[in-house]
Symmetry: C2
Subunit: 659 residues, 2 copies
């Protein structure tokens, strides 16, 4: 190592703490923590700009450990910065600790992004970097310097670069020329199951260059001077930059350079490794001098930058007040009361058309939202109001993600994770499958992304079963903290989108129809939608209720009306905008909507899976549990017996046996 | 065009039929069909080896239209080969036709793979190509030439190459040096929402070369001689080969070279396009001479090859009889009766350990299965018995996919889609999210892949919520034609895996535990598992039943026994191995298992979403509907109140109000 002795001592001290965490927990990942520690040390020592006094400083550099299994390494850095205590390190992977197995943004200060599922950290870093360019350009557009001008750093391992979401994001980062994005690649040629060469033969330099990245190689991970130079170069590059740092996994341990070092290095092996680095054998031995020197150096270096920022830049935040609104309150920067309840005539229409009209209400009022679409803007209608984002048009609220649904969603997480910008995503509902891992990570991270996906049923018609969602509603509804809403009219669409924008911790997913639907208006006197409500009320104690959603609600109302006329049956219709919201209401309200003694029918053109919670095991669930087909929509719907007449027949036949 | 006049005439004739299909349906995608028709024509005329008399010929070349929206183009080729009639073309996108909006393998002869969701066709082509190398090497290993030596061709568009699953697969194809894989890339710089350059700036040549592919450029899609030469070169290459063919989307139409040509070119525009190509205005005009000449040329060229194959190679199929077994019967090449019911002592164990023991029963008996693992073989235990597959070790039943879950699953679809090899995949259950789009496409395609994923609950413990499945069971169970099974003991594991291997049209997904579980044996007299059965029977008409799965079953049985002793309550325990299988049983059987008058409790450490179908809206669903946490498993389980004592308390408190 070319660095001075104190560098080496500090790095090894930090390695020791990482080894201790894993050994103490008797589980975890030591190999990367040992191998990549010099790069982490150097990055934080000389480059990362954080305000340790104001840890949420709005313009802090963003750092993402995409290889989340390297958590012990990250926690060690956070210990060095006093974000975590020695006791926290001892609690590594223990119940309710600040040091979970993989980094979690909702648990630990200094962790902006939850990682662990590989690849997604790289995508989120692209989102963080985009956000910076977006605000910078908005300021420049107003002839101002930007108070938002942070750098985004991301560290990854071999596995990250195998995941498709990373590859999609790398392509976008190159296309978008994200100059302030630096990827440190801990390249050790080993992964969990063996040598990386057994499953990968990619020429990394050529690969990144083909994607318009700036590539540098550091041949020896211990050479922090080289790493430092490389980071300096990366910062000067006008392209996104990757620094491939060749390291030896678990270097210095008895299992170094084998996949046995990927996981936990324990007991005697841990001792031997510590001995190799001349680290005190006692676990969690502090070295206050090294630690304080590191912290003081870090603070001194950064305080200058931060003071200048406070003097010259902080006040500029007022130019786009939405930044601080989102940042402080997590709220959407529009006064909810100023939003019109009914700003346009409510007439029969495609629900996707209604959705963009409502979204525009928001887009017109603020620069605080960007819209991402995975090459289906013409179809889903959900696009921004600006010309597409590009290296020469960065203050655009419309990001064309290409046919990259997963990266789109993960990048949206990255954007929202900066806490200074909101994001909307869009594609076909069936392709929510492609986005699922990012939807989940966003839900876990409490990132309030608003996903608006159209073509939400077999009503898609001739495109056929590959394009027709069936089970996706169940997938979305069952995901913790993800709120799936399927509005049936304008009022519900406004409620849905407002719910999405006006809270800080829940991603929402809104389904909209491609087909034109008849609209049943929400009654004027409706006290609020609360997840579900009676949209058509015949009686306080109806004989039966039909619970429906989205494009089916009006048909349900028509059937209820006809059966009232023809059979004198009293049937209420409930619009179930969002199961998860409804579940959170008080029992009394729930019983007023789903009246316990009524016969219960659910009607939704999607899987019936999950509906029996509301209709009971003997309720009638009308839906479709098999794949659809390719045909003109009316013909397909008839074949599947989901047209109005067939549904009515089913309901009559069911109720005749019950009433 | 350098081709002779008849080539041009035939291509234009075919273009006309593609235009007619879309125009007649008034929906579809004309642009690619027009642009890429010369390449399709040339490929089929000179290269594709199919036996039109025996369309399922085992050694046929595999062709995959990854850009499934180009279906009208594909159907036109199939019309030229008499696989489809003119009437079929008229039925494009109509109900129950052989010409659905996107190609479906279960509907149309000549379509081996269902496509439409972009990127996956490329992955499936990798699977088809791997299968060929696998069998070829198995034969060579026995010093025989191989009767399986087909070529795999895949055609894609710009959108395909943006999807992560394609990028993952391209990396694997290069690593695996799949010499008989040729990708034709219709490169027209336009996608649905506009210019490709708005979202992509990748240097394609450099990109593919970095992935160890052979790259060629054909600058003019009309130049079929150049395309021909390029395909010849590709066949000679020892690497997988891409031929980038620059074309003009919707060439010759009034909207050529714009994204308006991506979709349907209709009415006057269709007329104008046909006029440009001097095609008869009347829709669906046949030109029998051109068609017959094409077909005759095709048959003549191929009959020579096929005759030689019949003489020299067909008999070689006997060397690995499993090939024909799978091919003809779709069945697994092991006599089910020879499988031991209990081949090892049934003792408390991790269910993942039991799963590999059972899988080995199959692997030892045949060369007809390969195992794919996404870099978690050491953890899930599901690996092949050979050294990993590589360019120099192709007769291996173990394919290391790297951290590429989605490609792994899509490649497995590609393998199974050849109908001559079975595939098993494996990763952590939470990462089934990454595989979802391929699971769905496999289910739609009726590809019987066996997926065995471990770490199937929050019992994962310290790795934390990113690694703990919650909602995945609901996602898997609600997917049409996908059978999710969660065995609780050895007997159920054998049943589950046999179900996976001994049928031809259903993918299965088996969840296994990382943690050691106590085992409750299936009673000797159990008549068969049928999705669910009473594993612990106290009474024919119990007061209550606990329905449980997998690692929870034994705990449920213990609780039932204790409550019988302590409270004299009669509680049966049902092991719900597979909801979808159980749903298919006759009512009488179902009522004998879930006895209607019993109080019902479900107990599964996963989302409760979907359980109320079996327990009713007022049943007690014990599970976990929020994210887990990072802690030692026992501590986490206690915190979530899912440990035995807490569950027992919940059950007592619930039953005391009911019994």
């Amino acid at each position: 190592m070319d660095g001075n002795t104190k560098d080496i001592q500090t790095i090894n001290f930090m390695r020791g703490l990482a080894i201790d965490q894993v050994n103490n927990a008797q589980i975890g990942h030591s190999g990367m923590a040992i191998a990549a520690m010099p790069a982490m040390y150097l990055l934080f020592k000389n480059h990362i700009c954080w305000d340790t006094e104001n840890r949420d400083w709005i313009n802090r550099d963003r750092f993402i450990l995409s290889a989340g299994h390297g958590s012990a390494m990250m926690y060690t850095v956070l210990f060095m910065l006093d974000y975590l205590s020695m006791d926290d390190l001892k609690q590594f992977r223990k119940l309710d600790s600040k040091t979970p197995g993989h980094p979690e943004n909702t648990v630990t200060q200094g962790i902006d992004y939850t990682t662990g599922p590989l690849g997604q950290g790289i995508a989120m870093s692209v989102g963080a970097a985009v956000t910076e360019t977006y605000w910078r350009a908005n300021y420049e557009n107003k002839k101002s310097q930007s108070p938002i001008n942070y750098h985004t750093y991301v560290m990854c391992g071999d596995g990250d670069l195998q995941e498709g979401v990373a590859l999609e994001s790398i392509a976008l980062a190159g296309t978008w020329k994200l100059d302030k994005l630096t990827l440190l690649y801990d390249s050790n040629d080993i992964q969990l199951d063996g040598k990386t060469s057994e499953c990968t033969n990619t020429d990394i330099k050529k690969y990144f260059e083909s994607n318009q990245w700036h590539y540098q190689l550091v041949k020896d991970s211990e050479n922090i001077d080289e790493i430092n130079k490389a980071i300096e170069n990366a910062k000067r590059s006008e392209k996104p930059s990757i620094i491939e740092i060749k390291s030896i996994i678990g270097a210095g341990s008895p299992v170094e350079n084998t996949n046995k070092a990927h996981g936990a290095i324990l007991n005697e092996q841990a001792d031997a490794t510590k001995k190799h680095y001349k680290i005190k054998k006692d676990p969690f031995s502090n070295n206050e001098i090294l630690k304080n020197d590191f912290l003081n150096f870090f603070d001194e270096r950064n305080s200058k930058i931060i003071n200048v920022w406070k003097e010259t830049s902080e006040k500029l935040l007022n130019l786009f007040p939405e930044i601080m609104e989102i940042y402080i309150k997590g709220m959407f920067p529009v006064d909810r009361e100023t939003l019109p309840k009914n700003f346009m005539e409510e007439k029969d229409d495609q629900l996707r058309n209604i959705s963009i009209q409502v979204l525009k209400l928001f887009l017109e009022r603020t620069r605080g939202i960007v819209v991402l679409n995975a090459d289906l803007g013409s179809s889903t209608k959900i696009v921004g109001t600006d010309n597409p984002y590009s290296p020469t048009n960065r203050n655009s609220n419309y990001l064309k993600a290409g046919v990259r649904e997963f990266a789109m969603t993960a990048i949206a997480n990255g954007i929202v994770g900066t806490r200074i910008l909101k994001a909307v995503t869009s594609s076909f509902l069936v392709f929510s499958d492609y986005t699922k891992p990012a939807l989940r990570l966003g839900a876990l991270s409490k990132f309030p992304v608003v996903n608006i996906f159209s073509h939400d049923s077999v009503w898609v018609g001739t495109d056929g079963p590959t394009h027709q969602p069936i089970e996706q509603f169940a997938m979305l509804r069952s995901t913790p903290n993800l709120y799936f809403l399927r509005p049936s009219n304008l009022r519900e669409m406004i409620e849905a989108m407002a719910f999405g924008f006006f809270q800080r911790s829940k991603p929402v997913f809104i389904g909209t129809s491609r087909q034109k639907v008849k609209i049943t208006k929400t009654p004027q006197n409706s006290v609020g939608i609360r997840g579900a409500y009676v949209i058509h009320k015949v009686s306080e104690k109806p004989q039966a209720i039909i619970i429906s959603t989205g494009s089916e609600v009006s048909t349900a109302v028509e059937i209820a009306k006809e059966l009232h006329k023809e059979k004198q049956w009293e049937i209420n219709v409930v619009s179930m905008l969002c199961m998860k919201l409804f579940d959170k209401q008080i029992e009394q309200y729930k019983r007023s909507v789903i009246t316990p003694k009524s016969i219960k029918i659910s009607y939704e053109i999607a899987t019936t899976f999950g509906w029996h919670k509301y209709i009971g095991s003997d309720g009638l669930a009308i839906g479709v549990d098999d794949f659809g087909g390719s045909a003109k929509e009316e013909n397909l719907i008839k074949k599947l017996k989901l047209d109005k007449e067939s549904v009515k027949k089913k309901i009559i036949s069911y109720l005749e046996g019950k009433i």
